[in-house]
Amino acid sequence: MYAIDWRRIGKTAGVVLTLLALWLVFGIYRAGHPWLASGGLAFLAASAALFSWQRAYAWRYLYPGIVAILVFIVFPALYTMRIGFTNYSSSNLLSFERATAYLMDQTCTSGGDPLKLQLLHRGQRFELVLQNEEGGAWHSAAIALAADKPQTLSLTAGGDPAAGEQVPLRDLIALQPALRSLTLNVPGLATPYRLNSLTSFAPAAPLYRRNTDGSLKNLQTGDVLRPNFQTGFYQTAAGANVQPGFRVDVGWKNFVRLFGSAELQAPLMRVFAWTVLFAGLTVLITFCIGFALATVLSWEALRMRTTYRVLLFLPYAVPGFISILIFRGLFNENFGEINMVLHALFGIRPNWFSDPLLAKSMLLIVNSWLGYPYMMLLCLGLIKSIPSDLYEASAIAGATAWQNLTRITLPLILKPIMPLLIASFAFNFNNFVLISLLTDGRPDFTDSLVPAGTTDILVSYTYRIAFQDSGQNFGLAAAISTLIFLLVALLSVVNLKLMRVNAQDKR
């Protein structure tokens, strides 16, 4: 055996990992998430117990993989469903705490005269000289400027802007973030000064004060803002919303909007219908082509079958994002080679990208090209497994090739391939890459109030709502995702049932 002591190495690695995880948990605690930290600690304790408990030996091997699946697949899926019940969107992006902190950071100029800034070089450091209109001047000590740490400076009276080399405007602009983080105390004046334009400081006071009941008082106007946890905004007494909003639970509101409001319901139903049609037709077409090719290639009298098979397989081997983009270029209405050929042969130039029906046919053509090799491979394998004595018997009975195909091959293939056809349907139901790279869902419906594309399928519609529209309505998009989850789950259950039946038949 080897001289390496695996057990000791494993133990050392375990201890190091545990310490590292503890440090991480402490970091989370320090960052102000005590609940998350305690959750992490519990998780860590459970892991440690698992790895030291002899009876749970198998779990030592399972654990890393299972955790990865739970954290990176299952958790995001559940979290998406969770977001479907919130108002998370670009107008309600922040958490309540962050939105409050943002408002508390707001300042207002409280009258008072602004001071003009002159920034002087002091070696690597800087000196601020501030003057008012009456000729009074104040200056700071030489300081280092950094944007990431806010500083409070106390000024001293006196100062001469000509006493050093002035920082040129260009550098002054670059230093703006650092200057903005400064708070200056001017002797004899109560309110602190903050930067209010490129080269002037003005007395600034916080705009809001927090009351004990959680409401915020606007110190300038005297308005009281109360957080509304139904809508996710701070509201004035008159009911006006104050930006920025925050995330809150809205219950079933997103789902009610999807099915209840006419503006969303109509496009959703159309998109859903096209999704089903697209996936169904794709499976049908690719299966027919794949099956036909597989029967021809199973014909033993045919030479060069391997060469044909490899060449026919190629569309499947080329990365999807490349072949789809190639088609996007070839189908281009003005410069595309396909329209060039069609124009030369038939004198037509179809509008592949602006006519809804043509765009849909283009998607089906491209997807058939992408998908038939997979079906061909599957059918080849299944045809091979059909016992040859069946064909010998049929030949003796005088059956034609067509009868062989429809009475023997097809019925025997259909049952085992059914789960795979359903899996293929589910895959194309969510074939985001094709839609996104080829048409991006366009052309859009002209009669729809919310933007939706005639070639959008459910996932690409979700993507559009969440990441492309100006509203970035994550909550609404997540609600649609939840619906897709349910549909896919339904398909999966049917599929598992079919596979189980097939497995029993084999026994």
């Binding site: 030996y57 190629l314 990365p319 090209w369 996104s436 598992l496």
Partner: protein, 296 residues
């Protein structure tokens, strides 16, 4: 199929060949075109499918060199294709290693060790892989946006976030490796354990060397899977320097800035190696294929 041969036999064979060749020409059309386009001067259709003059301008740009056109203008590469390729390869290598490590250990437990809920776990794995990551994009975006507030190198627009998001895609690979482990007799490992080896030693020194081929295949498949992944990378990566090939390639074909010829060269340059890798890997993949795996 054993057939009784008749006179029409030869005719049928010729018809089959003709049909197959016609179909092949149709399916190969995009490939032939893209080669022709990459050698054609200019970025627009110039009126002929086979170029009259051959120009290597697009290839120079794809390889990162500038070139001077007929009017003496210096044209710089429009996009850092090689840099994108490097980003893709880097992400894919790390992802594939992580995926291989995680799926091999889990597959070992499923194939060799006894624990409760094994059958249920295997079914659950099949179920999990039915739900593609594209359905969880919003949550993935929200999670990494939040993480980025504390750990910038795992936030939005970092390669770390993409690798982490890919690390969970191991369900199908566990099945593939487990299937291969099942074909290897357990006697060798049992003998090693009788001789005083621990479970881990039997796994590491006895089983893994015998399973090397399938480990290579899974590594290759995970590698290819990460290279061609588009949806997750498209929401996590934004800056041009950070993009992967799959996300960046789309930039060539915007209506306002239509670089058809440059795209053709870049597509061949990056697509060819991946295609070859896939052809090599698929030889062993047929089992995985028929258990329900569909490639994007």
């Amino acid at each position: 199929m054993a057939m009784v041969q008749d006179k029409s036999h030869l005719g049928k064979i010729l018809a089959a060949h003709a049909g197959l060749i016609a179909f092949l020409l149709l399916t190969m059309f995009p490939f032939l075109m893209i080669v022709s386009i990459s050698l054609r001067p200019g970025n627009f259709a110039s009126g002929s499918l086979i170029p009259d003059t051959i120009s290597f301008e697009h290839w120079k740009l794809a390889l990162g060199f500038s070139y001077t056109d007929a009017s003496g203008r210096l044209i710089a590469p429009p996009f850092p294709v090689l840099h994108w390729l490097w980003n893709s390869v880097k992400i894919a290598l790390i992802t594939a290693s992580v995926v291989l490590l995680l799926s091999t250990t889990s597959a070992y437990a499923f194939a060799r060790l006894k624990f409760r809920g094994k059958e249920l776990g295997l079914s659950a794995l099949l179920l999990v892989q039915m739900f593609p990551a594209v359905l969880s994009l919003i949550a993935i975006y929200a999670i990494f946006d939040e993480i980025g507030n504390y750990v910038p190198w795992l936030g939005i627009d970092s390669h770390g976030s993409v690798i982490l998001a890919y690390a969970g895609g191991i369900a199908l690979h566990i099945w593939t490796i487990k299937g291969y482990f099942d074909t290897i007799p357990a006697e060798m490992e049992e003998a090693a354990i009788v001789d005083g080896a621990s479970h881990f030693q039997a796994f590491w020194h006895v089983l893994l060397p015998m399973a090397l081929p399938i480990l290579c295949v899974v590594f290759l498949l995970a590698f290819i899977g990460a290279i061609i992944e588009y949806p997750v990378a498209s929401i996590l990566l934004h800056q041009e320097q950070n993009l992967t090939l799959a996300v960046g390639s789309k930039l060539y074909l915007y209506e306002q800035n239509y670089l058809w010829g440059d795209f053709a060269a870049a597509a061949i340059l990056s697509g060819l190696p991946i295609t070859l890798l896939f052809v090599v890997a698929q030889r062993w993949m047929v089992n995985g294929l028929s258990s329900g795996g569909v490639k994007g």
